[in-house]
Structure formats: C-alpha cells, structure tokens
C-alpha cells in the first residue's frame, strides 16, 4: 500500500527550540548571532577557513588564496541574481513540484532488503566483527 501526504518538516520540540532561539537572537542573547549579510562583500581568507572547517576539509595554506580567488570569481556571477525581482515567487526546490508528481511516497514499513552486512562492509576502510572502526571518540 502506498501512502501519500506530508509530514511536518520539523518535530515540535525542535520547532519550539528554534522559535526560542530566533527570539533570543532578536534580543541579542543568543549563543550565536546571525551574520550581518552584505552581498557585495567578497569572501575573505577567514570565510574560506570557516567554510572548509564546516565542510570538514583541510585546505593547505598555499591553496587558500587560489581557492579564494576562484570562489570569489564565481560569486561575482552569483551576485547577479540579486538584481532579479523575486518578491512573492515560491522557491522551486524540486522539479517534482512542477511535473505534478509532488506527493512524497512512503513505502510500507517492512524490511525489503536481505542482510548484506558483509557485502556492504567489503569496501570499508576498517572493520572488526561486523563493526566499523573509527578513531577513539571518548577517552
């Protein structure tokens, strides 16, 4: 049986937390403030370092400037989007929204795949007794 319909995007406790955070942000008591946005501002080496960290990438210092130049080159193009009037336009996240196939399908909550743990772990870098090994997380 296929079910259709939509679920709330965020669970209620999280919605409440988010609302509280937004309020405290307005009051200036949030743990972090939203960045003051200036779309004409090019990225700085500090931005690149922050973004590389968020993306869990390690950028060698000699690569920072080249990466910065290339990304700023793209953003000169990206800034052109700001000139397009889009007030009242609904963002289009997915072509399904215009092809009329918008309903998210949910399959029945039954196991349909066989257990393939070994086959799935063949390409894992470090495995022991069916478990993935990672560097020690808790001392």
């Amino acid at each position: 049986m296929q079910r259709t319909g939509s679920k709330p995007l965020l669970y209620k406790p999280f919605q409440l937390r988010l609302r509280r955070h937004l309020r405290s942000n307005e009051e200036g008591t949030a743990h972090f403030r939203f960045h003051v946005f200036d779309p004409t501002m090019a990225l700085t080496p500090q931005d690149i370092a922050r973004v590389a960290h968020l993306a869990r990438l390690e950028l060698p210092p000699q690569e920072t400037q080249r990466t910065l130049d290339r990304i700023n080159g793209l953003f000169q193009l990206v800034e052109q989007m700001a000139a397009v009037p889009t007030a009242g336009v609904q963002p289009l996240a997915h072509p399904a929204a215009v092809t009329g196939q918008i309903a998210l399908r949910l399959r029945d909550d039954v196991a349909s795949e066989p257990n393939q743990r070994e086959a799935s772990q063949v390409s894992a870098p470090a495995v022991e007794r069916g478990l993935f090994l990672v560097p020690k997380v808790i001392e």
């Binding site: 939203f34 590389a52 993306a55 869990r56 193009l77 989007m81 700001a82 397009v84 289009l92 870098p125």
Partner: protein, 492 residues
C-alpha cells in the same frame, strides 16, 4: 563482415543477433578487443572480461531458446557513476578507488534484464562535476575526433567510447548538461529524459534534484531502444522516480509522408542565438534547422529571458546539494581513509582532502557557504526562486511551440587543459544546457554538422515534460535525411 560490427547500430546488431548471424559472445569479444586497441582514449576505467563473457553466454542461451527482444545480446558500457556488482565503481574519484557495490543500480539491472551485456565502466568527471572530463582522478578522456581535445563532460568516457566504436551504446547521467554536451562535442546522439523518468537508485549522487540518467548512442533510433528499457518508475527505491507506465519509444519514431514533421512548431530562444555562440556552431545549427523546415516544421522565435541567470542559479543549487550528498564520504563506511591522522575530526578532514579533487572540494565549499547562516536566503533561496521563474518561462514558450531548438554548447570541443586553470570559463560554456536541467525538462543532442577544425556540432532539442517520444521522433526524422550521425572519426 565481422571487422565491421562496430559500425553497426544497436538496432542492426540486434537484428544480426536475432538472425543468429553473430553470437553475443563474438560481439563482446570484438568490442573488447577494440577497447584494448583504443586504450589511449582513456575512456574505460574498469573491465571484467570474465563477467562480460558470462553475460554474453547467458544472452546467447536466451537467443538459442528462441527469445527475441530488442536489446538481447547487444553490448554496452556504463558511466562509472552507476554502481555495479561485477565491476568496481569510482565515480571518477580517488575517494572511491576500489569500491565494490553490493548491488546494481536500477538502470544497470533493467538493461541487464533486457539482455544487454556490460563491457565495462566509463571514465567521467569526478562525481560528474565538470564539462570536459578533465576533472577525472584517472586522467582526461581524449576526443576521438581530435585527441588533443576534450570529449565533453561529465559523461566524456561514454561519448568517446560510442564515437570511437568501442561500444554501440552507453549510459550517461546529466545534471547540468552532462549527457547533451559530451554527445555534441563527440558527434553522437544523447537524451536526458524528464527528471524522474529513470530511477536514480544506484547512481552516485551529485545534485539529487537535477541528476537524471539517459542513453548515449549513434542515433535517436538507438537511444529510443535503450530508453524504453531504462525508464520506468521505481517507487520503492527512488521516491522521485515518476510513477508512469513504461513506454515503447521505438514504436513512436515513425511519421508518414514527405513532410513528416508537418505542423511541428520549433521555438528558437533568441538568447541561444546571440553573440555568445561561436559563428561555426551557429552556422551548423541554422543549416540543420533549415532541414527541419524542409521536413514540414515551422520555426519561430521564443523568449527565455533568464537564460544567463541559469548559470549562477545552477552553480548555487548544484553545489548546495553536492555539499550535502558528499558529506557521506567520511572514511568510515566506504572509500578512502587517510593513513596518518589524529582524532576523528582530523581523520574526516584529511580523508576528504586527500580523496576529493580540487574542483569537487571547491563545489563542496561553495555549497557549504550558500547554505550557511545568513547567506541561505540571499543565495540558495534566491536561486530556487529563479529556478521557478526559469521553469515558468519554459511553459510560456511551450504555449507557442512544441519543441525548442538551439545549440548545445557555444563552441566545438576545446583543448585538453585549456579550461582547467579557469573553471569559471567552463561554467559559462554550460549556458545552453543548464536551464533545461533546472526546469527538469527533457533535452537531447543530435549531430548537426561540423565546425572549426572539423569538430562535431550538436543541435539541442528541448521538449515539454514527459515528451521524450516527441523529441526522439523529431530527431529520428532529421536523421532520416541527414548523415551527420553516421560520420566516424578517422582511426589513428
């Protein structure tokens, strides 16, 4: 005659197989020997002759038992972003060196069930990010028409292999033009179907709201045969696949009379015919369009005013989705892991910096940035709003015409390495394919002559949603009166 099997179309090979004039094993051996002979093109990343010949023997057994289905026993190869049990899958990245999937992608499975024999995996830009196939961790693919030039990308291995007669057909994937553009630059035919027409299950994800699989072959007739087998809903495994009945595209290619395209209105977006397109490409496209008029079609101008803005919109949306999709490569469950590392976070960072190439890392960073606090609205949401406007503009155009036509790319194939130092120049060359992808529309590339240096030019045909059959029929009728798709590069 056996020396000429590689000059036959998929349809012809199927007929020879059905008449038992050649066996599937003989065809597999013939094409494998051509693949070995053309290793210089660097089109293939993996072969498994034992598995290929086993598949061919199984096809021969089905033929001997009297089965006659359109693709039974015909060889092909898959772009290396489709996961396969019998071959390693790398997506052109060091990150996935040696990766073995426990399952086959749905597209791979469907074509195998139709009896096609997989000869190997085809080189591509890393994680399908690129338009010259020079972003592959396994080296660039050469264009068989001029080995100093790119075959296009990201499905460059697929395009070069078909153009050089190493396989009669191949699969490709198209996120912003990665089927149409290499098809154009390598002188073959390729179709990107409506978003969702083919299942994405088992396709290594780049940008999930854009990625779409499609066939690449010599002719529209061959593409129709492959698409009929590839397409179809896969609701349990890809919730975005279109739950529509499978179609026989081959049955809809024919049209009667001396003017088989009579009544067809072809819209020409004025933005596709401006100063940004080189003169040789425009000349070839206009000559081809005159042929469509002779076939009964009428030409009219249409307006796609946001064409230029499709470039920034795409290069915000696709990297945003890529930054999310590629977060799965963490050195834990599969793929590369850095040898020397400290704690878990250090392991993530070193693994990802070693495993991903420069262009992939840049796109991940762009995506991370546009999704970050304070920038989301100005970049990501604005790009999605422009995406909506682009899709609406297409609908306004389709109120006036049935099919939209123009160039696929603003120039013929460029020299290998020419755009490596200037990725932005490569992004700008995607201008005619990105808007179709953002809207989720079907588009195809049809050989339409030659430009500077005797290099192939592709004509792009764009259809409304679900109108692959109309596109394939229009292209097929053109290929009945033109022979550009039958031209072959001279072997070295």
């Amino acid at each position: 005659m056996s020396a000429l099997w590689h000059e036959r179309s998929v349809a012809q090979l199927a007929a020879h197989l059905a008449a038992r004039e050649v066996s599937s094993v003989e065809l597999a051996q013939h094409f494998l020997s051509r693949i070995h002979g053309e290793a210089d093109l660097n089109a293939f990343l993996a072969l498994n002759e034992e598995a290929s010949l086993a598949q061919a023997r199984a096809a021969d057994a089905r033929l001997a038992a009297g089965e006659r289905t359109p693709l039974l026993g015909v060889p092909l190869a898959h772009k290396d972003v489709f996961v396969t049990r019998d071959f390693p899958t790398t997506a052109g990245s060091k990150m996935l060196a040696g990766y073995r999937s426990p399952f086959d992608a749905t597209v791979v499975r469907r074509l195998a069930e139709a009896g096609m024999v997989t000869l190997g995996k085809l080189n591509c830009d890393e994680f399908a990010m690129g338009s010259g196939n020079d972003n592959s961790a396994y080296g660039p693919v050469k264009n068989p028409w001029d080995r100093l030039r790119v075959p296009g990308g990201s499905s460059g291995g697929s395009a070069a292999a078909v153009a050089a007669g190493l396989v009669p057909a191949a699969t490709g994937t198209d996120t912003g033009g990665s089927i149409r553009q290499p098809a154009a630059l390598s002188g073959i035919t390729g179709i990107k179907p409506t978003y969702g027409r083919c299942s994405r299950y088992g396709m290594v994800a780049y940008a999930s709201s854009l990625d779409q699989a499609g066939p690449m072959a010599r002719s529209a007739e061959d593409c129709a045969l492959l698409l009929s087998a590839m397409a179809g809903g896969d609701p349990d495994r890809d919730s975005t696949s279109l739950d529509l009945p499978a179609l026989d595209y081959s049955a809809q290619l024919q049209a009667a009379g001396s003017q088989p395209l009579k009544g067809l209105r072809i819209g020409l977006p004025k933005q596709f015919f401006g100063a940004g397109c080189s003169a040789d490409v425009l000349a070839a496209v206009r000559t081809a369009l005159a042929e469509f008029e002779k076939l009964g079609a009428s030409l009219l101008e249409v307006d796609l005013p946001l064409t230029e803005l499709s470039i920034p919109a795409y290069y915000v949306i696709a990297p945003a989705e890529a930054s999310s999709n590629l977060s799965r490569f963490d050195g834990v469950r599969y793929g590369h892991r850095a040898k020397d590392h400290g704690d878990l976070e250090d392991m993530y960072k070193k693994t990802r910096s070693e495993g991903f190439g420069a262009e992939v890392q840049r796109r991940i960073m762009v995506g991370t940035y546009v999704l970050s606090h304070g920038y989301y609205d100005a970049y990501y949401l604005q790009a999605q709003k422009i995406r909506r406007l682009i899709a609406e503009d297409f609908q306004k155009a389709f109120a006036q015409c049935d099919v939209i036509a123009g160039p696929v790319a603003p120039s013929v194939a460029w020299a290998i390495g020419e755009k490596t130092a200037d990725p932005l120049a490569a992004y700008l060359a995607d201008i005619y394919t990105l808007s179709t992808s953002l809207a989720g529309l079907p588009g195809m590339s049809v050989p339409a002559g030659f430009g500077q240096g005797g290099l192939p030019v592709g004509l792009q045909l764009i259809g409304n949603y679900f109108e692959e059959a109309r596109l394939l029929q229009t292209a097929h009728q053109f290929q009945q009166v033109s022979d550009w798709h039958q031209r072959r590069p001279v072997a070295p």
